[in-house]
Symmetry: C2
Subunit: 320 residues, 2 copies
């Protein structure tokens, strides 16, 4: 890492967000390209990403030489290999491995490119710039379309022997569950506590009860419409969020037995419903914690600005 600036890239299923970041965590320039316009052609995507990184540096008034490294967070991004491994929501990485770090580095004159999965990137961002700046042991939980996690032990991300550690969204919370998960199994935490999981719970409750609820009139059931209804005082919507938070809280109690984190940091779109989630999540975690930890583990909301969080998280990877 030679430069005083790095680039952060957050690859999502639809768009890829690029930012040039200085050492203080200021995003000097931003750019967005489509992730989903290249069909199965990973080479074409990498060409476009490399081009956009150059343009973004220029927008920041920098020559590309001033940018010393690139950090990337992506679904199923593997830190050890630099590959995106069978990411179901990205056509050019579905069912195959794409050597993204190497391919991008080659296009950028050989500068270091570091890849990890999106939740690990978020945890890094939180540690360098966010709510976890003072923690050496914490667990980051991202509540988005899925449930991701990044685990930090003694100041370092846990990658595991194969780079795939930190898949806490796929702990089984109910072995009798009928909820199918994208991973091919049933009853994963993700099927309950993601944005999608919230919508599933709401749909189930609407279909299996007669209780009046604003949710019945929604064109679309999503975590956003559930949250909107809860803000309007809708009893069922509030209970859906509480149910979600309680399941998450119980799982957090189990997670604590593993790494005894000082705090759990919650991140992602569903965290916007914080006023409905926080108390039941904390209460249920404490009710299920071993006595030695009861009342001692913090649950905090991400400290990163949501618009920049992913870019900062990815850029934090590049700072060594």
């Amino acid at each position: 890492m030679d430069g005083q600036y790095v680039a952060g890239v957050d690859i999502g299923g639809q768009t890829s967000k690029i930012g040039i970041v200085d050492a203080a965590g200021n995003v000097l320039a931003r750019k967005v390209i489509r992730t989903d316009s290249y069909g199965k052609d990973a080479e074409a995507y990498m060409d476009a990403l490399a081009g956009a990184l150059g343009e973004c540096a220029a927008d920041a008034g920098l020559s590309w030489k001033a940018v010393g490294a690139v950090g990337i967070g992506a679904p199923n991004g593997n830190y050890y290999t630099g590959h995106i491994v069978r990411a179901v929501n990205i056509a050019w990485a579905s069912g195959r491995e794409v050597p993204l770090a190497e391919g991008l580095s080659r296009r950028l004159g050989g500068i270091p490119v570091t890849l990890t999965n999106d939740a690990n990137a978020a945890a890094m961002g939180e540690m360098v710039y966010g709510a976890a700046r003072n923690y050496r042991d914490f667990i980051m939980i991202t509540l988005g379309t899925g449930v991701g996690s990044g685990i930090v032990v003694d100041g370092k991300l846990v990658y595991g022997h194969d780079g795939n550690a930190g898949e806490l969204g796929h702990v089984i919370v109910d072995r009798n569950s009928t909820r199918s998960c994208g991973c091919g199994r049933k009853g994963c935490l993700e099927t309950y506590c993601s944005a999608t999981g919230v919508a599933r719970t709401a749909k189930e409750w609407i279909e299996t009860t007669d209780e009046p609820s604003l949710l019945r009139d929604m064109d679309e059931l999503s975590s956003k419409t559930v949250y909107d209804a809860a803000k309007q005082g809708d009893a069922m919507a509030i209970r859906v969020l509480r149910y979600t938070a309680e399941i998450l809280g119980r799982s957090l109690a189990d997670f604590v037995t593993f790494s005894a984190p000082e705090a759990i940091v919650i991140f992602g779109g569903l965290a916007r419903a914080w006023e409905f989630l926080y108390e039941p999540m904390l209460d249920e975690m404490n009710a299920n914690l071993m006595p030695v930890w009861r009342g001692k583990i913090k649950i905090v909301r991400s400290g990163l600005k949501e618009s920049d969080a992913a870019i900062l998280g990815a850029s934090a990877l590049a700072w060594k």
Copy 2:
């Protein structure tokens, strides 16, 4: 650590085992003292332990000066503070904190004394001398009176922010369970998969079925008598062990999502029933693993000689 020898101490509820160990892992001399003969007097216990350490060194033909450090594994031993923290099975440490490392070091002329909990000590021993010598990422599960665990990430033990990490025996495996755990909660892994848990399962099945079984004639139901009956072909005993192994296997699948270990190492008295436990444990782990790990995570039995395992584990702590 100045000497070429260290002392390992394994503190159990009834006895404390002491050994003088060389750098190759040879136990040069052994000594056992009672843990439970000192009532609530922790000072008297530490006096006795310090004396026994000196005698053990002499038995090995060494002056105490040749022994550079002491490593201790003990229930609820805290690595950071060097205290034994409210160990329910040790009268002099029940309901209070005993500054064991400091107290012992003072009695031994100030040499370094390192303390951790017994499962972490076992994991250290396995990494330095045993089945985990080639793994930088593994999870040690100890199946004894309780279920303990030691988690190694990237070659280092996970202690957590407070030194209490690695309590996987207290993950809740059944939230509707009526089985009370020593930790004050219900349904912990330990209530099913410890030696005690095996006896509980056998007792429950005997009381709630009419199935003929050798277990009905046993004076005492213990994991040993269940294992003995299984070896004689008793169908219920075999099923009790399989049930135990399956619950453990499912939990192991969840543990893998955390740290993506290369292997799980199983240790402790119940591991003697390996021929009945291994296959159902492995099969059930694989059936519950995410596809990315299925068939790839090893389950291995401890590679330490059982009689020396605890001493070696504790001594491994002392080598820095």
